[in-house]
Structures are given as structure tokens and as C-alpha cells.
Amino acid sequence: MHLLEVQHLHVTDRHTGSVLLRDSSFHVKQGSCLAIVGESGSGKSVTCKSIMRLHKAWIRQTGEIWFKGEELSALPERQMRKKRGKQLAMILQHGMRAFDPTCVIGVQIGETLKEHYGWSRAEIEANMSLAMMSVRLNNPVELMNKYPHQLSGGMLQRVMIALAFVLEPDLIIADEPTTALDTIAQFEVVEQLIALRERMNGAMILVSHDLGIVRRLADDIIVMKDGEIVERGSANVIFSAAQHAYTQRLVEANRALNGHFERLKGGGLGLVEH
């Protein structure tokens, strides 16, 4: 049995009557990474929100979502809350919007860990410090006493990853985790996501339109367009023999930029040592 099995997920907006997601079925295997690729508005984030059951009241979802043998859509909200964070963790695009701007980082982390583990302040600080050091956030105690606006986007993203380290979820949903970041921060966050997977052998759903990052992380890929899955397969197959025109265009564009850059960069001067 797969860790996560989504069957015939159908999402509609009750206000406008528009269909956001049409009969979507896919699965995530234990310990593997599934990438969801597609242009903006294609239903990638809707899919993530449906799994977490975080939709607004007027968004209606039907279909089955099986997670470790349990049907998530049938669970009462109280039990679903226990699952969010502990078993299903989400890493969001905008670190700045994911944290409450009115209180320091440490308080928010504390609330989450207390809810799931019932730890004391000292335990939270010890565990969190360790995790933050491992994502190369030095001075964890100092950082935990800062407000979100005092940290950069890349740092907040790494704080979220550190929190995921401590919570050890079975499934991480990373929704465009690097899109808002610059080149150096992107590189570091991707390194940390790889480390996170290696350490916990957890599964991951990665939403991204950056094929470079998808290629580094993903085992399987689904391609979405206008609320439908138009192509699916293992990462190797998609990158070498895409069938759908949209996927081909995406892979082509990526190849054009990459190829040019690689040619300029050349092999010299030990630039490829990583």
C-alpha cells in the first residue's frame, strides 16, 4: 500500500461554480518524492491544500484521500488538526506570510511543538536549537527571539525546514519552497530538503516550476494544466521523453537556458566540484 493515495479528487468553487481540480488521482510511495509541475493556476496548490484540508468554506472537495490506511476526508476536524504538522507538514512559498508577524519566531515554534509533543520550554529550546544548527542557522536562541521581518526569506524557509526536522512528519508538502528566494538561498534550501529526506526517509510532495530543482529532488513527476493531470511518469522519463506539448515546452525552455549557461561556464577552474 502507498503512503498517500488520492482518488478522483474533484474540487469546485461554490461561489463561481468553476472547477479547480478535475478528477485527479495519484499516489506517493513511502520514502519517495513526487513533484507536481505546471504553470500558475493549473491546480498545484489546490491539490496540496486539499490533502491538508485547508480550503476555505466555499471550496468543495470530493473524492478519497487515503493516508497510511486512513481516509482523511472522513476524519473529524479535531483529528485532522493532530495530523497537520505532526504527520503532514507543509513548507510554504512565502516565509514572510507563513509566520505571524506580531510575535517572535520562538513563540510560534513553541506553540506548535507543545501542541504535538507537550514539551517543556527547555526541551523545545534544546531540540529546536539542534535542528536549526543542522540547517546552518547558527545562533538559534538569538534567532528564536527575532520577529519574522528581521529575518530574510531564506532564513525563514530554513526555520520551517528545521521545524519539520523536529516534527518528523511522514509526508512533507513543499509548495514552491524556493521560488521567492535568490540563487544562494535556493541552493541552500534544496540541500536542506535533500538532507531532510535522507534523514527521515520520509515522503515528499514538491510543487515547483523550476525544473532544475525538480530534477535534483523528484523520483516521480505529474504535470498539471487547467486543473487536470496531463502527464505522469518517473522523473527520467519525463525529462527525456515528455509526451504532452506543455511538458515538452517546459523541458525545452529549461534545456535552452541550461545549455547556454553550461557552455559558458565550461568545465574549468573547478567550478563543477559540487
Binding site: E39, S40, G41, S152, G153, T179, L181, D182, T183, I184, A185, Q186, F187, V190, H209, D210, L211, G212, I213, V214, R215, R216, F239, Y246, R249, L250, E252, A253, N254, A256, L257, N258, H260, F261, E262, L264, K265, G266, G268, L269, L271, E273, H274
Partner: protein
Amino acid sequence: MALLNISHVFKSYSAGGMFARRAQEVVRDVSFACEPGECLGIVGESGSGKSTLGRMIAGLEKPDRGIVHWEGRPVWDRRQRGCRISAVFQDYTSSINPFFTVEEAIMEPLRTSGMHKRKDRSSVDLLLEQVGLNASYRERYPHELSGGEAQRVCIARAIATEPHYIVMDEAVSSLDGSVQLLVLDLLKALRRKYAMSYMFITHDLQAAAYLCDRILFFKEGRVEEIIATEQLRNAQSEYARHLLRMVITS
């Protein structure tokens, strides 16, 4: 003579609230020049001061010290600048007045510069065509456009006054893969057609390498290195080499 001459430019903002005396230097002693027809890439991390540099070159901000000269005269003199410098910014959603249709948005710079007398509706069609959109987009409002379309309208607006120079601040960074390449190719083609020069500010080294002739590595308000794109592999400074290593390619 160089088209654009930047010499020993400094800029600082007050940091730490309204009454603080402490000033934060964002641009420190920057000097470089742009030749006619050249495309210069400014590559740096977020917070490196590259956008401030771009705003000073577009004449939107004045440096504390140093000179920014356009064809030998200060760029902040509006008459000197004329309509010869345009800008395209990252956030396409807030770059177009939401009450304007695409046509009105493109006509705005023509109207304020008095060029609308010899340019009419058909020139809007032509501009739209050049950025790969058709005349049916004329009546649309910004919220009816996708990101790539909106950014292309911004580019059409920027080239409407036939500028000699366009400052682009992260103009393609928030577009997704295939649309990004589309806009980059469009910029390449427009440059050939109108003999324009670009300043392309970005954190994306790959996009900069695709479009630019020279790349300037910018860190903490200082120029680390300026290098011809063809010579990228011979970058000398530690920072440039570090950035080159960090690019995630597939």
C-alpha cells in the same frame, strides 16, 4: 563616449525607524560604464542594493554622492533623460494601473511625452504584436492577464517611447520556466530591432548569461567583478565563483 557613466556613487538610507540617526549604506563607491547597444547584467543576492542602483540609473532616485551621467549629463535631469530611459519591474501585478485597459496603459507614456500626436491606436497594435500579443488584448484589464502577458504589456509600454535604454529589475524572475524563456527571447529580438541597450538586474545568473554581454557581480553595495559573459568561466573574484557554483542546473 559611453552612453551611461556611473562614477563613485554612494547611497544610504536611514535604518531603524523614523527617528534613528543610523544610516545604512546600500551602494558604496560604484563605478562602471555602459556602451551603446550593450546589455549589462547586474547579478547579486537579495538585499545587495542592486535595485537601488537600478532606481538611480532610471533617475527615480538621486545618489548621495557621485555621478550618474547619461550622454554626459546628469540622469536625474528630466529634460536630459527625456523618454530615452524606460524601466520594467518585477511585480507585474502592481506595475499597471488596475483601472487602465492595456491600451490606456501603453498610451500613458506616449501621452505624457506628447508623442501621442504622431502615434495612434494602430501603433498600440504594432507594439502588442511585437511582444507577441494580438490586438484583442487592447480592451483587457490587468487582472484579466496572466503573469507572462502582464509582463509583456509592461515591456510594450517600456518600448512605446522608443527608448535607448531600459532598466529591467528582476523582469523575468517571477515568471515560470517556459514563459521566462519566451520573454528573454523577445528581449533579444527587440534589442536587435531597436538597437537598444539594457540593464538587466537579476539574481538569476542563468537568465543573465542568456541575455547579457557583460555581467557585473554585485555584493553588499559594491562591485565585485565585471566580466564579459563569454569569459564567465574565467571569473576571478571569490564571490563570482561562489555564485557560479550555486546555480542549480539539471
